[in-house]
Symmetry: C2
Subunit: 362 residues, 2 copies
C-alpha cells in the first residue's frame, strides 16, 4: 500500500539523511532572501526543496506560477493537513494560482472509505469547506474532485504511456493482488500535479508542491513524466512532520492524537492539556532540572505554528528549560491560542459551506 498520507509516516525521521539520499537541497538560501515569512518558513519547519529556483524567480519577476496541494477525503482535516494548506496560502500571497485536487478515487481504491460515493460526499460536505475556511482567495483558487473532472482522467491517460507497471511497482509497492484502480492512481496523481499546466489553465508553467519526504518518490515520477510530455518539471518543498498530541503520529481516526479543524474549542483544549510533555516527572523535579522543549509537543506547536513573536517563543523556551514555566502553563498558553484560532476559523467555515460550488472547477 502506498504511503501517501502524512499520517502514515511513523517513527523518527533523520531529515538530513533523507535529503542526501534523495538529492533534496537546503531551502535556506532562498528563504533568507525573502521577507515577511510565516513562522513555518522562518523556523525551519520547511527545510528542503527540489528545483525551487523556478519558483523563487517567478515570485521575484512576477511571472505566472502555481502551487498545488491535494487532500484525501477519507476524513476531516487536522492541524497536520493545515500545514500543507498554509504553504499553498503563502504561495498564493506571493502570486501563485492555487490548485487543490480532492482524490476521492485514491480514498476509495486504497480502501480508506467504504464507497466512492462516501468519499465524494465527504469531499463536498467536510473536506472542501475545511479547505476554503483556511482563507483561500476565491479568484485564483481551483478545487477539483478527481472523479468529477473529466480532464483528470484525460490527462492521466495521456501520461500513462510514459510509465510501466514495473515503475509503478517500484514506487508504490504494488503486487499481483493490487486492483487496477490503485495501479492507475499512480498516474492520476501525476495528472493532478500537472493539471495546472493544461492549455485551458494557460499552458506550461512552474508549479510548486509542498510535500513530506515520504512523498518524494511520487515527485520524482511526475517530474520524469512531465519532461516526456513537454511540461515544466514541478518543483517541491519539504517540511518536517509535527508530532501528534500524544507524541506519535497524528491520525484523524484517533481523535486524541490531533486537533481537528472542526474540534470545538473546549475539546481542543482538553486534548492539548493531555498532550505529551517534555517537563519534569514532578513539579519539584521540573523546577530543579527544567524541561526539554524539543520533545514537548505543546512547545513545538507554538514554535512551528502558533507563536508569531520570536521574542516570546524565545522567552518560553528559556523559561521552560530553566523550570520557571511548567508544561501545564505552556499547554494552557497554547490552548488559548488554539481556541482563538478555532473560533475564528470555524466562523469562516460556516460561510465556507455555502461557497463550495464557487471554488469547484470541473
Amino acid at each position: 500500500m502506498a504511503k501517501i498520507n502524512v499520517s502514515e509516516v511513523e517513527g523518527d525521521i533523520d531529515y538530513r539523511e533523507e535529503m542526501e539520499k534523495f538529492g533534496i537541497e537546503d531551502i535556506d538560501k532562498f528563504l533568507s532572501q525573502m521577507k515577511d515569512l510565516p513562522v513555518m518558513y522562518r523556523r525551519g519547519l520547511v527545510f528542503g526543496h527540489r528545483d525551487f529556483e523556478k519558483i523563487f524567480e517567478a515570485i521575484h519577476l512576477k511571472k505566472r506560477f502555481a502551487t498545488l496541494t491535494g487532500a484525501n477525503p477519507s476524513s476531516s482535516l487536522h492541524i497536520g493537513h493545515k500545514l500543507f494548506l498554509d504553504q499553498a496560502l503563502f504561495f498564493q500571497s506571493r502570486g501563485a494560482d492555487v490548485f487543490i485536487p480532492i482524490s476521492d478515487d485514491e480514498s476509495y481504491v486504497f480502501k480508506k472509505t467504504e464507497s466512492l460515493e462516501k468519499a465524494t460526499q465527504n469531499a463536498m460536505e467536510k473536506v472542501i469547506p475545511d479547505i476554503i475556511a483556511c482563507g483561500f482567495q476565491r479568484k485564483n483558487t481551483n478545487i477539483f474532485i478527481s472523479t468529477k473532472t473529466a480532464r483528470v482522467y484525460e490527462l492521466a491517460v495521456k501520461l500513462s504511456t510514459k510509465a510501466t507497471f514495473s515503475t509503478m511497482k517500484a514506487i508504490f509497492g504494488f503486487d499481483n493482488e493490487t486492483n487496477p484502480g490503485a495501479i492507475f492512481y499512480g498516474v492520476t496523481q501525476s495528472s493532478h500535479i500537472l493539471f495546472p499546466q493544461l492549455e485551458e489553465h494557460g499552458g506550461p508553467r512552474p508549479v510548486v508542491v509542498p510535500i513530506g519526504v515520504d512523498q518524494d518518490p511520487y515527485m520524482r515520477l511526475v517530474r520524469d513524466i512531465a519532461q516526456k510530455v513537454g511540461m515544466v518539471k514541478p518543483s517541491s518543498t519539504y517540511h518536517k512532520f509535527l508530532p501528534g498530541l500524544l507524541g506519535g503520529k497524528m491520525s484523524s481516526s484517533k481523535p486524541e492524537t490531533c486537533i481537528l479543524l472542526t474540534d470545538a474549542p473546549d475539546v481542543a483544549r482538553r486534548k492539548i492539556m493531555r498532550a505529551f510533555s517534555g517537563g519534569g516527572a514532578t513539579l519539584q523535579e521540573h523546577r530543579e532540572k527544567g524541561g526539554n522543549p524539543d520533545v514537548d509537543v505543546a512547545y513545538q506547536y507554538l514554535f512551528y505554528i502558533f507563536e508569531e513573536s520570536d521574542k516570546k517563543i524565545g522567552e518560553i523556551r528559556e523559561q521552560f528549560k530553566n523550570g520557571s514555566m511548567t508544561s501545564g502553563e505552556i499547554k494552557d498558553y497554547l490552548a488559548k491560542k488554539v481556541e482563538r484560532f478555532l473560533k475564528s476559523y470555524q466562523k469562516r467555515r460556516v460561510k465556507a459551506v455555502k461557497q463550495v460550488d464557487k471554488f469547484l472547477i470541473r
Copy 2:
C-alpha cells in the same frame, strides 16, 4: 497486447469449438420466435449468445433494455465494423436505448494512434459521423467519448476494486512493461459496458452487447464485476467474422482488404472486382466444374449482408455452383448493391457531420 478488434483475429475459427469452450449457447431458439429479422440473423451470421433470455423477454414484454457497441477511433469504419452497428440498430428497432462508447483512451494506450488528441479528433471528425450515418435514431442513441465523459472514469474507479492485476493479466496478457493506462483500460471497458445502468440512465437493466468470440473474455470479466456492484449482468450475442476482400482479415490500415464506409462507390467497385474468388481457375473450368460459394468473398457479402431476398440468394448460389454464373458476375452484382448502399449512406453522412453534438452525451 489485448486482442480487442475484430481485425486482430486471424485464421479460421471453429465456432462450434469456441462455443463449447466458453459456454456460449446457440441463439436459434430465440431467433426462430422473432419476426422480420435482418439477413445477418436469418442466415446464421449471428450464431451464439450468453444470457439472451433477458433481452428476449424485454423485447416481448416491452421492458426497458439497452444495447451497446463500442468503436475505436484509430481509423475509419469499414463493412466489418458496420456489422456491430447493424446489430445495435436492430435492437434499437426493437425498443433498446443505444449506447456507443468511443474509446479514444484505448486507441492511445495500446498505441493505435500517435496521440490522444489525434484519437479524439478522429472520433469527432471520422468515426462518430460514420456511426450516425448508419441510421441511428436521435432520441435514444447516446454516443460518448471515453476521456471526455467524467462518468466513465468515475464508474471505472468504482469497478476497479472488484478486480486485481492477476485477473487483468490473465485476460489481457499484460506484463511488467505494460503501461498503467492499458492496465486500467480493462476496467474502463467494463465501465463502458455498465454505463447504461448508471442511475442517471435509469439504473440497472438488461443490456445486450454484440461481440465476436475473441471478445468473450472481457464479457466474462464485466459480468463478474456487474454482479459485485449490484448491476444486471450484461448479455451478449456472437457473430462470425466476414472475411476481408482478399480472403484474410479486414484491416482499415490495408485499404484493399475492406470496403470503408467512406470509400467512393467506384473505388469500392474496383476493390470488389479484385476480391478473392471461389470460381474456377479459367472460365472454361468454371463452366465445367462450377464454383465454391462458401469461399467466394463476394458471395458471402451478398449472403450475410447485401442480398435481402432468400429466393435470389438461393438462385445465385445454385448458378455459381453449376458454373452458369461466373465469379465476375457475382462481383458485379455485389458491386452494384454496394455502390447503391454507399451512395445513400454517404448522403446521410454529409448530414451526420453536422449532427455530432446532438448525439454526444457527456
